[in-house]
Amino acid sequence: MMVRIKLYQRNGSEKMYLNSIVTDPEAFQRYYDIAVSSLLPLAKGALFYTIPLSIISFIIGIVLALLTALARLSSIKILKVIANVYVSIIRGTPLLVQLFIIFYGLPNVGITLDPFIAATIGFSLNVGAYSSEIIRGAILSIPNGQWEAGYSIGMNYVQNLRRIILPQAVRVSVPPLSNTFISLIKDSSLAALILVTEMFRVAQQIASTNYEFLLLYTEVAVLYWIICFPLSLIQQRLEHHFGRHLKR
């Protein structure tokens, strides 16, 4: 069966017909070569930028999130206010705009940042704000009797938090935090727009030389999926690990 795909070039004036890759061995070979030859640069983009950017931002973000959650739960008013303002600003403005302010905006006041650093700051602040609500909710879900039991054996706030409350809160927050991490990996493609040569930007660069946008962007989508897929398996294992003391 003949399948024809109509492709319009960007200016739209010139029509080009391509035989489908299924029926035209030559076209298939060309697509195959491009896909294979772009694998290495794409993998480099993932290994050197996408993955480290996501992991570093996530770790910093979680620390920020914990501090923010504790500040919001504390009885000290000024800490509460600072945390509330931070969460409100980050959640109320687009991530892309935040990245542009950090990378393109701050040089106007004399702060010029390396693209990777700028992206790390932007993503960390984001994870911090969104995950703080996850962690706050997880802490609030632990019954008050657990705090009291900890205090009753002489613990102070920090000991109680570290030994009794957080280990239980972790289990509750594994599913939503896994969501956050997977979202972060995909959102890291926005770093392409502040010149970080992460996986998506590499795809853009290759596609701009051979005009195979559909092929390259599909390939990069598949690669994102390949990175994200094992994470759901890790999530299951973590849930099992932290829930081993619970009745099923």
Partner: protein, 244 residues
């Protein structure tokens, strides 16, 4: 041993404890009875400062807190180490085994060596009849067993006083006996205990003194025989009639 003077606690407009004063000698077992809302649980929780009293003075052993002034968190934490608390709903740490529950205080708070804490915890769990359940998680234990772990956990901190907040109220009837037995043994060993309970039989058999509370006051106190057979106050009589 314990000296309470002019202790008051209010939650907003509601005054739950009204100017309570009480002396308890070392080794005595005090049972507190009274209708719900009488303030007996709050009194207990004020003694280990899970509730911070509005005003008043509490002394246990050689440490004292005066709640008329501001009391720092550090002082409260130190003061809590004098008391062991057993909760109505056990409040065991669900992510830790029976053994780990008992070891937690000595390791984290007292900075004891793990092997020392373990030995002590094994001995305490043996004492409450759970020597064969060391590695069980709370969800694998019955209510009565959980409560006995709770008692062992409190004892591990070697408190001067043990506070029991309705320790058998959440238990199925057939499990109450094991917990009361452990508490009786403790009393016989000379532990100072304050017990809030509805177990009148336990009060009659074990208490050195019974305190009847109502409306935030100590209405009447005395030895169990007198309180249960010849109560002076009308409200005490009324309450005892209702429950017997």
């Amino acid at each position: 041993m314990i000296s309470i003077n002019g202790l008051s606690k209010r939650f907003g407009d509601l005054e739950v404890l009204k100017n309570i004063s009480l002396e308890v000698d070392k080794g005595k077992v005090i049972v507190v009875i009274g209708p719900s809302g009488s303030g007996k649980t709050t009194l207990l929780r004020c003694l280990n400062v899970l509730e911070v009293p509005t005003s008043g003075f509490v002394q246990i052993s050689n440490k004292q807190l005066d709640f008329s002034n501001h009391v720092s968190k550090r002082d409260i934490t130190e003061f809590r180490k004098l008391t062991g608390m057993v909760f109505q709903s056990y409040n065991l740490f669900p992510h830790k085994t029976a053994l780990q529950n008992v070891m937690e205080g000595p390791i984290t708070v007292k900075k004891q060596d793990k092997s020392v804490a373990r030995k002590k915890a094994e001995q305490l769990l043996g004492k409450v009849g759970l020597g064969d359940k060391l590695d069980f998680y709370p969800f694998q234990l019955s209510g009565g067993q959980q409560q006995r772990v709770g008692i062992a956990r409190a004892l591990a901190m070697e408190p001067e006083v043990m506070l029991f907040d309705e320790p058998t109220s959440a238990l199925d009837p057939e499990l109450v006996g094991d917990v009361l037995k452990v508490m009786k043994e403790l009393a016989n060993e000379g532990m100072t205990m304050i017990v809030v309970t509805h177990e009148m039989k336990f009060a009659k058999e074990v208490a050195d003194e019974v305190i009847f509370m109502d409306g935030g006051y100590i209405v009447e106190k005395g030895d169990p025989k007198t309180i249960f057979t010849l109560p002076k106050e009308a409200r005490t009589k009324q309450f005892l009639q209702l429950i017997q």
